[in-house]
């Protein structure tokens, strides 16, 4: 039996592609080299964020959040989706003006959010440091359990006839003389197919190489700290992060760091966030953990007596412009790409799967595809050369 589409990657993005394709009646076979959700999807936090720049990310995030509302009802088990809202904090008075401009710009583009004074913050969150400059509340932001979401998407796809093959590593992709996909070679056998979706995340560049495409996605490490369960009133808003988080994402060298406090469904806190480039090394660096805890303590001093029970580091698929690549592979017929989400893979997984299914079934895309194309990088190289 020939599958119509082979999806490479059993993370949240690959499983979402399999789910939205299966819903369209497409026969899907998903291959994953390890367990489902064993890489990036299990190594982050829980935030569905709606206020990332540039504008295309904002569009993807808004569309994706709406899909999550539906998924919470459609999927076969609870994915712990809750619309919690998020609170962004400005540490210093000097950073207030640029932050205020950003919030006004988001409001102008239709995002529901409101600025908060330092007094508002003290009232809403009495445990926060009293000397912060202010902040903003984003009521549309939400929370989800990424591991359960990945497993539920895979299970739902399976219920609609998809084949899910864990512990199956791709060893090659076969092309015809006209550069059309004809088969995927794996450690558990050859799978004839005309269409492949590369949703291999931090490994997507290596899959691209198999068909001669350069995909400029590299791994970027992020550390997370897990605490014991804490009382529900330690923080009232379940997602609290320093407004500097977005600048952290833009950093290209050293260890970029920002406070990011999220309380999960089970009561534990997940404390982020840092970013550094270290290849595929997932080792936890104690000095990063210490500095990251200090950043979080600065904003929430009440953390001091709470116990850390676990730390981990995971790899985010970094694309050079922090916009995901949801695209056809130029010059290779039947090759599609869904990667490069960096820290927004959980947020953007539903819309990514939906866009891929729309591309493959020739439907009008929910969000414009041009800014997401792989082609944008070759244009950029061209401009750099001419400039």
């Amino acid at each position: 039996m020939l599958p119509d589409v082979v999806v490479i990657g059993g993370g949240i993005v690959g499983c979402s592609c399999a789910y939205y394709l299966a819903r369209e009646g497409v026969r899907v076979c998903l291959v994953e080299k390890g367990n489902l959700a064993s890489g990036t999807s299990r190594a982050g936090q829980s935030h569905i964020v709606l206020w990332e720049e540039p504008d295309i990310n904002l569009q993807l995030e808004k569309a994706s959040r709406l899909l999550y509302e539906a998924l919470a009802e459609e999927l076969p088990f609870d994915i712990e989706y809750r619309r919690t809202g998020s609170l962004a904090l400005v540490e210093n008075a000097g950073d207030w003006e640029p932050f205020e401009r950003t919030v006004h710009s988001l409001q102008a583009r239709g995002l529901d959010c409101q600025l908060l004074t330092s007094t508002d913050l003290c009232r809403l969150e009495p445990n926060l440091a009293p000397d912060l400059a202010g902040g903003a509340y984003f009521p549309e932001d939400a929370q989800v359990n990424p591991i359960l979401t990945t497993l539920a998407l895979a299970q739902a796809a399976k219920n609609m006839g998809a084949e899910i093959r864990p512990f199956t590593e791709v060893t090659g992709i076969e092309l015809s003389a006209e550069r059309k996909v004809t088969a995927v070679d794996t450690t558990t056998g050859r799978i004839p197919t005309a269409i492949v979706v590369n949703a291999a995340g931090v490994w997507s560049a290596a899959i691209g190489t198999m068909v001669g495409l350069e995909i400029p996605v590299i791994p970027r490490r992020g550390h997370i700290i897990v605490t014991e369960p804490v009382p529900d009133n330690l923080i009232n808003c379940k997602i609290i992060l320093a407004a500097g988080y977005m600048q952290t994402l833009g950093a290209t060298s050293g260890v970029a760091m920002s406070a990011n406090i999220q309380q999960t469904h089970s009561g534990n806190l997940l404390l982020g966030s840092s970013r550094d480039f270290g290849g595929f090394d997932r080792t936890v660096r104690p000095e990063v953990i210490r500095a990251q805890l200090a950043r979080n303590l600065r904003f929430l001093p009440a953390l001091a007596n709470i116990h850390v029970i676990r730390t981990y580091a995971g790899l985010r698929p970094y694309s050079p412009d922090l916009v995901p690549i949801i695209s056809e592979g130029d010059g290779v017929k039947g090759f599609y790409i869904a990667t490069g989400h960096e820290g927004a893979g959980i947020t953007m997984a539903p819309i990514t799967g939906k866009l891929i299914s729309e591309m493959i079934t020739s439907k009008a895309p929910t969000v414009p595809l041009e800014p997401l194309s792989l082609r944008r990088f070759s244009h950029r190289q061209e401009e750099d050369r001419l400039g």
């Binding site: 367990n35 299970q155 014991e228 936890v284 953990i289 210490r290 303590l297 953390l303 029970i309």
Partner: protein, 95 residues
């Protein structure tokens, strides 16, 4: 000993995960200690699996027919025991 799905005996004491839930996770396809953990939270509590991960391995071995030695163990992550953030952030624990 034969394991029955209705068994309510607690395997993970920190997260109060019963044998029944572990057996259900294995029936859904979990084959490693981490997969059982992702589905049930067994091993995600305060002791980070010190009590239950060996039990989970044994149950996996019994249910799947794999030898104990071939069951993929859970990942160990620092810190080994719970440490207060105030202590860890300042590095006082090294003194």
């Amino acid at each position: 000993m034969s394991l029955e799905p209705e068994d309510e005996v607690i395997i993970c004491r920190c997260e109060e995960v019963s044998l029944k839930e572990i057996l259900e996770a294995i029936a859904e396809g979990a084959r490693t200690v981490n997969e059982v953990k992702m589905r049930t939270r067994a091993g995600m509590g305060l002791c980070q699996g010190k009590t239950c991960r060996r039990l989970v391995s044994q149950i996996l071995a019994q249910q799947t027919g794999q030898p104990m030695g071939e069951i993929m163990p859970a990942t160990f992550r620092p810190p080994v025991r719970p440490v207060p953030i105030g202590v860890l952030a300042t590095g006082d624990d090294e003194g």
